[in-house]
Amino acid sequence: MRVRERLPVPVATAVVLGFLGLFFAWPVAAIVGTGLRGDVGAVLAEAETWRLVAFTLGQAAASTLVALIAGMPLAYVLARAAIPGRAVLRAVVTVPFVLPTVVVGMAFRALFGLESSGGVLPIVLANAFFNVAVVARTVGGLWTHLDRRVEDAARSLGASRLRAFTSVTLPALLPALGSAAAVVFLFCSTSFGVVLVLGGGQYRTLETEIYLRTVQLLDLPGAAALSLLQFAAVVGALLVASAARRRRETALRLRAAVDTARVPQGGEWAVVAAAGIVVCGLLAPIVGLLLRSVSTVDGWGFAGYRALLGAGERGTLEVSGLDAALNSVRAAADATWMALLLGLLASFVLVGARRRVVAESVDLVLMLPLGVSAVTVGFGYLITLNLLPGDLRTSPLLVPFAQALVVTPLVIRMVLPVLRAVDDRLRQAAATLGASPWRVRREVDVPLAARAVLGAAGFGFVVALGEFGATSFLVRPDAPTLPVAIARLLSRPGALNTQMAYAACALLVLVTVLAVLLVERLRVRSDAVEEF
């Protein structure tokens, strides 16, 4: 009898699918249903709809391209260049990915000096800024595991360094590039906070339009029709990403990530220099934001920070900034434990699934919440959860539920590769030594994945802390989270409000940086190929 067949897999599966069904599938299906009942045809016939679609996809494609170009030199340095400070580099690259979207929007506003009007360039750059980490880490992760001797063989056969890269390395990296591009495209096309903050009302994507129509125009059928459109695009991008991932796992003979890095030579220094430029580009908005938070109309000062103790100019917020921060921490903590519970259960089920097709489809379904717009989900909650007993819509757990949905796929992406990299024979060895199936999990899987789990908890916490799309829908006005409070402060006039928003952003940046440093310290050295 095999180790895993005796696990109560059905129970774990039921818990995961039950949660997903209740807090994801049902709300999304309800939205889709509403859209179908409304006049979808009319919405689709509007030229405005297609302008939105074109702008959404166009800015996503441009952002993806920028992220790929900027991410490649970083991937090279992370994987292959033996230069000092690579650990710091990893952290610097990672911070933008987990920064709250609102904060990134604000950072680019400060950088471009936009205070009210929007622009396409800031939107594209901000989206790319976010996702450079996805490219660098996904591609770099695979690159670390590529056998360097294949390149050496090509060089010995007369290929120049560039030729060896284009003819040997690049094709081997294509699956990771494809996977990263699809995921980045997905994130960019559903990006909400950035477009909301930087679009300035002129530039709208499907995601912000859904929000606008729901919250301000109360055009629910129209919003639902747009959600439907977006859902189709998301599923398409996820399928591409999943296909690319499959190719990566099967098409390559991977090596353990040992010593594939060496000191750059000749032209490789140019790539290192390019990576340096990208790093400066990543640091600029963050530094700009921090500077902006301490520059007031009267020169340098901490007025914004002091103002966080209050509720903003003329009581813009119903609570103080401090209370909003505490709300954020509480909600994020709840979301983190929920996401860990779900993500770990799902990972254990997935790593045990022996039929590839099953594992892959479950994997895909679990990734959906990452791609489906948080706005759609939040909107779905509004129209479904009142049907449950005890009206969850007023429960303080509602926001954590939605955040957990966004964080769970991240937990899975961080833990599952580590578990998959564990040789099954290690578990079998434990079994032959007398460990029962549950004991095998406790003695082998848990210790080996512990660091990845802690890392996922850290990441998950900051992502939940910064979650904006779904939270902005669900949060009660008398208990806003910090990102929601920031958005509210921005939407109201007043220099102090703006100053306060920047100070709050700076605080979120600090928390994020601390969390990323913690995660990097805990990083697992294993044979797992990193992915997002």
Partner: protein
């Protein structure tokens, strides 16, 4: 009583990796499963351990059917090809694992760990990290770990094949001594006949999922059951012969064999045919040929010799006076390198 495998079959989808295998291992006996890669020997071992579910047949221990006994309750120790030490535990933590699973108190565990590390020649290695061991040390620790809870049966899956040749030969001897001293009942999978013959009391030769022959090493080497077993054990040439009074006569000459009078089939290994420089006068061996290829081995030279009207044969010569390519040599049959195939 020991292990008794009856009519055991294991399928992977449409592929039948093990087909109706019958095999027994007596108490204190070491049996080797020998065969080329992909012959199903590891699958058979894993089915005995309980890691593969048989499609048919049964595995019995001391007469009891193990079909409903899960891996962790069988009480068999297993050593994997590449150790599979727990990377997050030190050497002592690995060795004491089975004892911990059985709830043995800490003090007793520590004593047993010291005893086992001493046994495998790694005294004092307890606090070392499992990931810092060399291949040979890791396999010794894996062995100590498998032996810790006094398994009724020890299963070894290619325990030495991940090691380099020198180390493998030395460890095989150590392992044989250790298994003998502890009077362990063991089943060893290997593709290397030297290893099988060093370790085992009896050797089962497998091919395509079935057992072709089970015999003691000496008998298996001298009397392989058929051409396939003989070929796997190194015979490259098969010749019909006629035995009269302990001497077999075949087309390459005569040789002493321990067989009854009548027809027989000789299996010649390269060492069964010795080449000597031919003087050209009439007093050399009757069979002569021309050397076509020549390769140096560690202690001899291996040749391919063309014998007119007979064909090409593998032969060996002393390294000191090895003939060169194109030279004429005389060929003499050497009983040390000749097996009697199929006969009884």
């Amino acid at each position: 009583m020991g292990l008794d495998v009856r009519g055991l079959s294991v399928r992977y989808g449409a592929v039948e990796a093990v087909r109706e295998v019958a095999l027994s291992v007596g108490d204190g006996e070491v049996v080797a499963l020998l065969g080329p890669s992909g012959c199903g020997k590891s699958t058979l071992l894993r089915a005995v351990a309980g890691l593969e579910r048989p499609a048919a047949g049964e595995v019995r221990w001391d007469g009891r059917d193990l079909a409903r006994v899960p891996v962790h309750r069988r009480g068999f120790g297993m050593v994997f090809q590449d150790g599979q030490l727990f990377p997050h535990r030190d050497v002592a933590g690995n060795v004491e694992f089975a004892l911990r699973m059985r709830g043995v108190p800490r003090a007793d565990r520590a004593a047993r760990v010291d005893e086992l590390l001493e046994l495998v020649g790694l005294a004092g290695y307890g606090p070392r990290r499992a990931t810092e061991l060399s291949g040979g040390e890791a396999q010794r620790v894996a062995l100590a770990r498998a032996l810790a809870a006094d398994p009724e049966l020890l299963l070894l899956d290619e325990p030495l094949s991940a090691l380099d040749r020198m180390l493998r030969e030395r460890l095989a001897v150590d392992l044989a001594a250790l298994l003998g001293r502890a009077e362990t009942t063991a089943l060893v999978v290997t593709h290397d006949h030297d290893e099988a013959f060093t370790l085992a009391d009896r050797v089962a030769v497998l091919a395509r999922g079935t057992v072709l022959q089970v015999d003691g090493p000496d008998r298996l080497w001298r009397r392989p059951g058929d051409d396939e077993v003989a070929a796997f054990l190194g015979c490259s040439t098969f010749l019909p012969a006629e035995v009269r009074g302990g001497v077999a006569t075949c087309e390459l000459g005569t040789v002493e064999v321990a067989a009854a009078d009548g027809p027989a089939r000789l299996g010649l290994r390269a060492t069964g045919l010795r080449a000597q420089r031919h003087s050209g006068t009439g007093d050399g061996p009757e069979t002569t040929g021309i050397v076509r290829e020549r390769v140096h081995r560690h202690d001899h030279v291996r040749l391919v010799v063309d014998v007119p009207q007979r064909g090409r044969f593998e032969a060996v010569a002393h390294a000191t006076e090895a003939p060169v390519v194109g030279e004429q040599v005389g060929l003499v049959l050497d009983p040390e390198g000749i097996a009697l195939v199929g006969a009884d």
